[in-house]
């Protein structure tokens, strides 16, 4: 059986900086993997390469056994992988329902013209991430950070991914919001979603993942169960060093 996501020998350089240095890992279907590391370790860069927003210098990325490195971002999303952003990127002049509508759109101009939006599905997605009915007509500027992250989740889920990459899902959230998002992720895990989760909030991350990998300066320094990774000497050194 092939993995849901398999990254091998990934290298990405920015000038002299090696942001991803020969990184390999894989994710089985239904598994949830945590990706941790200090600021600037290269976590976001890994997600961007999986999505094709950045092209790796070398290495391969396979999604359900298919090499996707040559595909555009939209094709990769159609192949079943989708991500959220560290800084939410909503469409500023559109309300919540319209933001989700864009996520639901088929990549087909003709269908966009002839088939109307599915307001019921938009509403369903908004409610499923914990947004309120009354939020549907709000614009992003009227939403708190927690709701922006929920909107980001909803728009990502709208693309019907089988693998979700979450970047710093808990950044800027209140304790209550962290609990809500955690609950959402847990229920999606039960439904079989595969996750790669980047987070600085380690206590919040721990219950959400089966396994973790730690990277520093683009190099993998530890891999295994969350507690093993946290007890690893180089991980502790890198976290201490970064504070």
């Amino acid at each position: 059986m092939s993995a849901a996501l398999e990254v091998s020998g990934l290298v990405k350089r920015f000038g002299g900086l090696v942001a991803t240095n020969d990184l390999s890992f894989s994710l089985q279907e239904g598994e949830s993997l945590g990706l941790i590391g200090p600021n600037g370790a290269g976590k976001t860069t890994v997600l961007s390469q999986i999505m094709g927003e950045l092209r790796q210098d070398s290495g391969t990325i396979e999604l359900f056994g298919q090499e996707i490195s040559a595909l555009s971002t939209s094709r990769r999303i159609q192949a079943g992988v989708s991500r959220t952003y560290q800084i939410p990127r909503p469409f500023g002049d559109m309300n919540v329902a319209e933001n989700i509508r864009v996520g639901l759109m088929p990549d087909d101009i003709w269908k966009l013209i002839v088939s109307p939006p599915d307001a019921e599905r938009e509403r369903e997605l908004a409610l499923s991430v914990g947004l309120a009915e009354s939020d549907l007509l709000r614009t992003p500027s009227e939403l708190a950070m927690g709701d922006l992250r929920k909107l980001e989740m909803a728009r990502t889920m709208a693309t019907a991914p089988r693998v979700m990459l979450l970047d710093e899902v808990f950044a800027g959230l209140t304790a209550g919001e962290v609990a809500q998002i955690s609950e959402l992720i847990q229920s999606m895990r039960k439904d079989g979603m595969t996750f790669l989760i980047v987070s600085h909030d380690l206590p919040a991350l721990e219950p959400l993942i089966d396994r973790a990998i730690a990277i520093e300066r683009g190099i993998m320094i530890a891999e295994g169960a969350f507690s093993e990774v946290m007890n690893d000497k180089s991980v502790q050194a890198s976290y201490l060093g970064s504070v």
Partner: protein, 308 residues
């Protein structure tokens, strides 16, 4: 965003009102309104591309000019009937639009504006030097076949053209496609991150914009009966188009229409007072003040007053 009864009433009222206008106004006013109609067509064309997707074109006269020159040359030099030359002109304009599209797939912002401006300047130079026997060179062309006689008929034709384009664009932009194009203007990366090919969306916006510009340019030249490169590629003409869309309200259809009528009337009523190019200073100032006061355009002001 389905159709509501008041949409039908408003459009019906607008169409009826515009077609009844020749009963009450003078021929001189009608001639002014003909220009307003064509300006509205060009402003809608500009807005479909630049207002929606945020790719600001400074070269729309390039597209309009291709449409106008193609049909003018075909009818005058080769005796091609207008029924054939106008569709060909539109087709040529769309092909030319594709040429502009190529650099636009990679660049955005001020570079895109500069590239489109360069295309316009290039065409301006080309029509003057290359085959002046066809283009009429620096002096342009006259005696081009006209489609209508008299101000009223010219007004009816331009009104029909403008309303057809406005109504079909309005319907098109109410679909999810309109939402997708607006999304490109707000955050192109997030559109890609939603699984959509932005290249295809942009190509659609470009081609639609070129289609309208070519159609408008072709009809316009067959109304004027003459074609002067200096007027066609005048920077003031370009700015009048852009300011109409900005002033009326971008990313809408009614906005560029209102803007075009406002700009045309403003320029016309300033003419007796300020006959020269100073007029453009005045409209620049008015545009700036209005824009600072209400950046979403006149259409927003109308909506606000009707709600109050």
């Amino acid at each position: 965003m389905e159709l509501r009864w008041f949409h039908v009433v408003l459009w019906g009222g607008l169409i009826a009102g515009m077609f009844l206008l020749p009963q009450v106004v003078s021929n001189g006013t009608l001639r002014t309104l003909i220009f307003a109609n064509y300006l509205a067509v060009f402003a809608i064309s500009w807005d479909v591309l630049s207002g929606r997707t945020g790719y600001v074109s400074f070269g729309h006269p390039f597209l309009i000019g291709i449409g106008a020159y193609t049909t003018a040359i075909l009818t005058k030099r080769f005796d091609v009937p207008v029924e054939v030359s106008i569709p060909l002109a539109v087709l040529f304009t769309m092909v030319a639009g594709l040429l502009v599209l190529l650099p636009a797939l990679r660049i955005r912002g001020s570079y895109f504006a500069l590239v489109t401006l360069a295309f316009m300047e290039l065409l301006y130079q080309l029509v003057q030097v290359i085959r002046p026997d066809l283009t009429g060179g620096t002096r342009g062309m006259s005696g081009i076949q006209t489609l209508t006689r008299g101000a009223a008929n010219g007004y009816y034709l331009s009104t029909a053209l403008m309303l057809c384009i406005a109504l079909s664009m309005w319907l098109l932009m109410k679909t999810r496609l309109g939402t997708a194009l607006a999304a490109v203007g707000m955050n192109e990366e997030s559109v890609r991150g939603s699984g959509l090919s932005t290249t295809r969306l942009k190509a659609f916006a470009f081609l639609t914009s070129a289609f309208i510009a070519g159609l408008g340019g072709a009809f316009y030249v067959h109304y004027l009966g003459s074609l002067a490169p200096r007027a066609m590629f005048d920077i003031n003409f370009l700015f009048t188009i852009i300011v109409s869309a900005l002033l009326g309200g971008t990313s809408t259809i009614v906005g560029p229409m209102i803007g075009a009528f406002f700009m045309t009337c403003l320029l016309e009523y300033l003419r007796p007072v300020l006959p020269g190019a100073e007029r453009y200073f005045v409209y620049g100032a008015i545009a700036l003040i209005l824009y600072m006061y209400q950046p979403k355009g006149l259409v927003k002001l109308v909506q606000l007053t009707s709600k109050a």
